[in-house]
């Protein structure tokens, strides 16, 4: 006791000037956080207002250093005070009517802060072309990956457990999984209103009947491609924070924040001016993060709880509940001359659209335009259909339909070359676009270097020296 008094007196004696006071203050302050580490390698930055060259300079990505140091912050690395974790219950059944959703057991769990079902979403539909996708399935389930309810809890594990305690009673409905079957008039309707063929496109050029009649040989083949998931290493993730001013901020892996905001505004039925979306570093997109997924759900959970809510998809959900690449069924009928020149081509494309439209319209359009390849085809008929099935929805993925049709027309090119005993490179050179060629949809093409590129590539990889 006496010592403490003595010490205090000593302090008082020492602190005579403002400088002494300041020093005493600093001495008391313990370094709570170690100083931020300084990395010694100089970052070369130009002086202010200095003109620098870009051409001829070696370029590195501005985020490369942070990546290597593990300092780049993705959504999963963000956290906010009081943040809750959301999980979504997946239907696990391809087609059904939802009879009843019982969330009482989940709500009673300690640590569960809110549960959300489709009926609580102001406008429960979204989509970039057609608004045919529910945020959470409400009356009907259209594919096994549909979300039916969501939970926000204090830990991810509690949220996961709570999701398992939600009971959903289904009345199973007949489902259709094959797009060709789905195109029939008597097929099961995936969506009650309207045909399963939800978008189609036709390109007509020249006279295919005459072209086929003039042909030396006609080749017919069906090509199929499979469904592909983007598998970005970073799963879809978002954090929503609904503040007391009635504004919502969403940090998201969304690649298209402006389009996403319009979709979120629609589903939440609130003006865009009250929604702020922060796009962050994305750990791989490949087209799979081009539209909203769980963002409205997180926003509403945040509104219910008054706390920020984070949602991260599991790898399983990435496969079940996010878009994939369209499987194509491609019928190619091609008439050629004896020299292998294409006279006429008839193409039918069937895109397995899955349960929702997503970016199918765009994919269908691009696939159509590119379906005859970089080749001169004077007489062409392309008919393309996107079809609903009770499967995971298909959407944008690198190339928007171009890789699928490329597989078909190049495979057929090889078939024709083999049958007519023409060199596979030669047959392509005979048919390829020239400068000023006209595309199937009438565009005049400039800077066409298909032939030069092929010739150069063949020279580089030693086409002449091959062993057939």
């Amino acid at each position: 006791m006496n010592e403490r008094v003595k010490l205090q007196e000593a302090d008082r004696v020492e602190a005579k000037t403002p400088e002494d006071l300041r020093r005493a203050d600093e001495d008391l302050r313990l370094p709570a956080i170690a100083p931020r580490e300084q990395y010694p390698i100089d970052v070369r930055a130009p002086e202010a207002r200095e003109q620098t060259n870009a051409v001829g300079q070696r370029a590195t990505r501005p985020d490369n250093r942070l990546q290597g140091l593990g300092q780049l912050k993705y959504i999963a690395d963000f956290s906010f005070p009081g943040m809750l974790f959301a999980r979504i219950k997946r239907a696990g059944i391809a087609a059904a009517r939802i009879v009843r959703i019982d969330t009482s057991a989940a709500e009673a769990m300690p640590g569960v802060m809110a549960v959300l079902t489709g009926s609580e979403i102001p406008v429960n539909s979204f989509g970039p072309s057609y608004q045919d996708q529910p945020v959470l399935a409400q009356d009907r389930v259209f594919h096994a990956g549909d979300g039916v309810a969501a939970v926000a809890a204090v830990t991810e594990q509690i949220a996961e457990e709570a999701v398992e305690r939600i009971v959903v009673e289904y009345e199973p409905l007949p489902a259709v999984f094959d797009p060709i079957e789905a195109m029939r008039d008597d097929a099961v309707r995936v969506h009650e209103d309207g045909s399963n063929i939800y978008t189609s496109k036709t390109i007509r050029k020249g006279d295919i009947e005459k072209g086929f009649a003039d042909s030396y040989r006609i080749f017919e083949e069906t090509f199929r491609t499979q469904m592909v998931e983007h598998v970005p290493l970073e799963p879809h993730a978002a954090i929503a924070d609904w503040d007391a001013n009635g504004r919502v901020t969403i940090w998201s892996t969304l690649g298209r924040i402006t389009l996403g905001r319009a979709d979120i505004a629609r589903t939440l039925k609130m003006p865009m001016s009250r929604i702020r979306i922060a796009g962050t570093i994305v750990g791989g997109n490949f087209g799979g993060k081009n539209e909203i997924t769980q963002e409205p759900v997180l926003a509403l959970l945040s509104k219910k709880t008054g706390r920020p809510v984070k949602g991260t998809y599991s790898r399983e959900e990435e496969f079940l509940a996010t878009t994939t690449r369209h499987p194509f069924i491609m019928d190619y009928k091609t008439g050629v001359t004896k020299e292998g020149r294409i006279l006429a081509r008839k193409i039918r494309l069937v895109l397995d659209g899955g349960a929702y439209c997503s970016w199918s319209e765009t994919t269908l359009g691009k696939a159509c335009i590119l379906s005859s390849g970089p080749y001169k085809v004077e007489n062409l008929l392309v008919e393309a259909f996107a079809v609903y099935t009770n499967k995971t929805m298909t959407g944008a993925m690198r190339g928007f339909g171009a890789p699928q049709v490329c597989f078909a027309y190049e495979s057929q090119m090889d078939d024709i070359a083999r049958a007519l005993d023409i060199d596979p490179l030669e047959i392509r050179l005979r048919n390829a676009f020239d400068e000023g060629a006209i595309s199937p949809t009438g565009q005049v093409l400039h800077s066409v270097v298909v032939k030069e590129s092929l010739a150069k590539a063949a020279e580089r990889f030693g086409w002449e020296a091959r062993t057939p």
Binding site: Y39, Q67, G68, G70, D77, P232
Partner: protein, 166 residues
Amino acid sequence: MTDIAITVNGELRKASVPSETTLLQLLRDNFQLTGAKLGCDVGDCGACTVIVDGAAVNACLMLAVQAEGRDIITIEGLANRQVFHPLQQAFEESGALQCGFCGPGVILSAKALLDENPDPDVYEIRDALAGNLCRCTGYTKMIEAVQNAARILRGEPEISSRMISR
């Protein structure tokens, strides 16, 4: 709850966590070392790779309690105040990463390799990175970067050729 004491990047760290906590959760949630990423949670992608007693390990498959008393190196422990690790330098200079989500895991797998084998050939590098999936790059520049880092570590001049021997 279980008490755990492990060495992370040379520092003794303690935590009290539920028994089912994985090493990855311990590092990310308790120690705020978010360099190791959660990609698949089933040991397929390698985004969570850390070095445990010298070996590259999927932190999502190891329980925190299994790491008790062990020596862990995470991506945050590679650079110190004096220098970058040559791997980090080489990865930056060759632009070996694109989205970067796999990066910390890849670099640590490569470090575990170079600690054992200072002069690996391309096949040995590929083998060491086999547990790390990358969807962006196609691995070519990563392999080039690992070779360059190995040269720096051996004290040889770097070769910044774009072509690597296959």
